[in-house]
Structures are given as C-alpha cells and as structure tokens.
Amino acid sequence: MILDMRQVRKAFGGLVAVNNVDLTVQQGTIHAIIGPNGAGKTTFFNCVTALNPADSGEIVFEGTRIERLPTHIINRKGIARTFQNIRLFPYLSVLQNVVVGTHNQSSAGILASVLHTPRFREEERQMVEFAMSLLQQTGLVDKKDIYARNLPYGDQRRLEIARAMAGRPKVLLLDEPAAGMNTTETSSLEAFIRRLKDDGLTVVLIEHDMKLVMSIADVVSVIDHGVKIAEGTAETVQNDERVIEAYLGKRKDT
C-alpha cells in the first residue's frame, strides 16, 4: 500500500465532485480509475496533488499524511502526474521540458548557476543525460530541439509522461494518457506503461480507452458522480451492471 485515500471529499460550491471516496493503491501495480465524463476523476487527482486540496479526508503516502502539503512538496515526496488537457511548457523545447521535470532532482543555487561551478556543470550534465535517456525511452529523442507546442498530439502526451518521469517519482498519476492517440500509438503507450511497472513504478491511470484499461490494469476503480461504484479486476468491473449503466446510460429495451 503506497497510496491510501480515506473519505476524500471535494465540493465546488454546491456541486460535490468527489464524495467521500476511499481508494487504496498497492505498490507496484497499475491502478485504473474509470468513469464517465464529469464523474470527478480529475478532481480526485487534483486532491492527491493538492492543486485543489480536498475539503476533508486523509491521504496517506508511504505512511505519512500529505493532504495538507503544498503541491511542490508532494511532487518532491514522489508523486508525479500528467494532465488531461496536456499542460506542457509550449515554448520550451522538448528537451527543456523534460529538464524542467528534473527540478526536484537538482539543487544548484543562484551562485552555482552564475559562477558555473564544476558541481553545477556536473549536475547539469547529469540532468540532461537523464532527460535524454527518458526521451530515448519515449522515442522523442529526434525531436528534442523543437518547441513542445509543435509536437503532434500523441508525442505531446508522451512528452508529458517523460517530463513527469524526470522527477523519479514513486507513483505516477496519468490523466487520460491515450486520449487522442491512434491504435499504434496506444499500443506503444501500453508497452511503455508496462515497462514502467516492471521498473517498480506504481501507476494510477484515468483512461477512457477501455481496451487499454482492460489489458494493463491490475485493479480498476469506477467512479460515477463523485462516488466509487465498483472496484476489482478488469473482468469483474466489465460485467458489473452498474458500470455498464453508468457508461452507456440506462439500457432501454427497444
């Protein structure tokens, strides 16, 4: 159990986006969260990363409570994420985007930066090297010098993952990583996520592409209207009547 959420609740005005949800993520698993649009999945991620801190409830990461910590500290503790509506730094190059991601891995201060101390240069070299290795893994190495905004959609998604990985997280939160990808892109993404798991990373993933979810998720949680309505392996969830209803709407017999 690396990440444990208890009774997390978040409301915007009158709308309760996340309603007392419990969720436990086991170390080294791929945990998918699915549910229709507007179900509160992204809000849930925002609670974990404190972009929209939860109104109540506890979030425990590796045994410590993190729900009151600011976003950047949570990231430093080892939780990284991507965004549903891609939030790259559009006018930074692909490589620079990933190097920014290594922020929590480095420590050079102003003085070192300005004086170009040997330690600074060594650190910079390591950061770039690490970033390059991530680009290698995500297949973006040829595009390292172009502006992030000029990448095709699928590449932007991959770059976001590479950037999140640059902080060497223990848990990676992916918000619809396959959205807008075609089938080949999706299958290479699938392989990539599997590799991350093999490397010991825990992945929490919000996804609409059911094929992807069903093939890689160890555990699937279903959220609808801010409430967790089902949880289990892909097969169990798939055949759950409430899940089908939540997705396709109530089946009317015609």
Binding site: N37, K211, G249
Partner: protein, 237 residues
C-alpha cells in the same frame, strides 16, 4: 431539405490535427447525434460550425450558403444556436437576463416577449427563478437555462454539446425529455453526447467519431444494436 451540411472539415490546433476531414449533414426537423469518446473532436466540430475555431479546409453550408469561418454572432443570427459544453450560463445575470441575452439578435420587443413566455412555458422551473442569478441555479437548472437561452434566438438548428455532463442520471433523462420536446417543436437538433445509449434512443440518426474521424454512421436504432459502438466505449467483447 438539407439544413446543415459539413463537408471534409479539417481543423488544426497549432500542429495538432483535431478534425481530419469530417462530413455530416442534418435535414430539416431531424434529430442527429454525434457520439464518441473524450478527445474525439466532437466539441471542436461544434465550435468550428459556430465560428469559435478556425478551420483549415472543408466547408460548412447552412441552407446551401457557406458559413465556415464567419464571425460567430453572424452565424447565430442566421439561425444556428449553440448550447456550449459546460453550459456557460452567465452566472451574474439573472435568469431572465440570461434569456434576454439569448434573444439578442431579435430586434422586435414583442417577439422577444413571446419567446420568453414560450420558454417559461416549456421550463416552468425557470419561470419560478426568473429573478435569481444564473450562478445560483443547480446544475440541471443551469442546463435548462442554457437550452432555453439558445431557443430564445428562435433558431432553426440547435447544437447541443454534452447536455448530460456532470448531471445525475435522473436529471439527465429529464433534460433529454426537454430536448425531444424541442425537436417536436420543429427545431432540427445536432446533439453531441457521450452517453451513447440515451443519445441514440432519442435521435434518429447517429455518427460515431473517433480521433477526429467519423468511423461509423447510420440510423440510431442500428447503431444502438451495433457491437462496435459498445466496444468503442467499454471494450466489452
């Protein structure tokens, strides 16, 4: 008669190809739905039709008149109303003011009053709350307001973008009942929805969108039975 016709529409956001050549059409009095997963390009399509997004190529004809890349307000004045995603009710205007804004393109005061009465008939909840600020309404009421506001321009075509978003199932059904009622009033409807079951139940014809392309189209009843559609959504074998 073909009221609205979209041909080979291509849209880029910067270097991202959001629509890859979409064609569809809507005839007078019909109810057409466009279903597809998140990021398929449904909202982009509606925004392109009403001038919010610039298209790279293709054409959009309204009553055989090209309207692509016209200014939004001029398109609306021609008779196309658009209920945007997320409702976009003006939170600090009262319900009545929201409706009056909807009738902005109509110069005759008398006609505005008639439309107002008509919509209050259709949505009695709104009549009760006419002096309340839009932002204080519940999600379902806001959705009704958004639809009523669009009707205030007395359009021929109504574009609806995910009216079920974030609403409880019971409310969703209610909203859909309203939409059907509106269709019966003679308005042609293009509905974008991810609640495929519901959408295909109320519409007469459907298009399935995937990553900027129409992958399937047909009468709604056929699509409803089509396993491919179910698959696209749930991966259910």
């Amino acid at each position: 008669m073909r009221l609205l016709e979209v041909q080979d529409l291509v849209v880029y956001y910067g270097h991202i190809n959001a629509l890859k050549g979409i064609s569809l059409s809507l005839s007078e009095g019909h109810f057409v739905t466009l279903i597809g997963a998140n990021g398929a390009g449904k909202t982009t399509l509606l925004n392109t039709i009403t001038g919010g997004v610039q298209a790279t190529s293709g054409s959009v004809l309204f009553r055989e008149e090209p309207i692509l890349n016209e200014r939004s307000d001029l398109i609306v004045r021609k008779g196309i109303a658009h209920v945007p995603e997320g409702r976009k009710v003006f939170p600090e205007l009262t319900v009545e003011e929201n409706l009056r804004v909807g009738a902005y393109s109509i110069p005759q005061k008398k006609k505005v009053a008639e439309l107002l009465a008509l919509n209050f008939d259709l949505f009695p909840r709104l009549a009760e709350r006419r002096r309340q600020e839009g932002g204080t309404l519940s999600g379902g009421e806001q959705q009704m307001l958004a639809i009523a506001r669009a009707l205030m321009s007395d359009p021929e075509v109504l574009l609806l973008d995910e009216p079920s978003l974030g609403l409880a199932p019971l409310l969703v059904e209610k909203i859909f009942e309203f939409i059907v009622q509106v269709n019966k009033l003679g308005k042609s409807i293009l509905l974008v929805e991810q609640n495929a079951n519901l959408a295909l139940h109320v519409a007469s014809y459907g298009y399935v969108l995937e990553t900027g392309r129409v992958v399937k189209e047909g009468p709604a009843a056929d699509l409803l039975r089509d396993d491919a559609v179910r698959k696209a959504y749930l991966g259910i074998a």
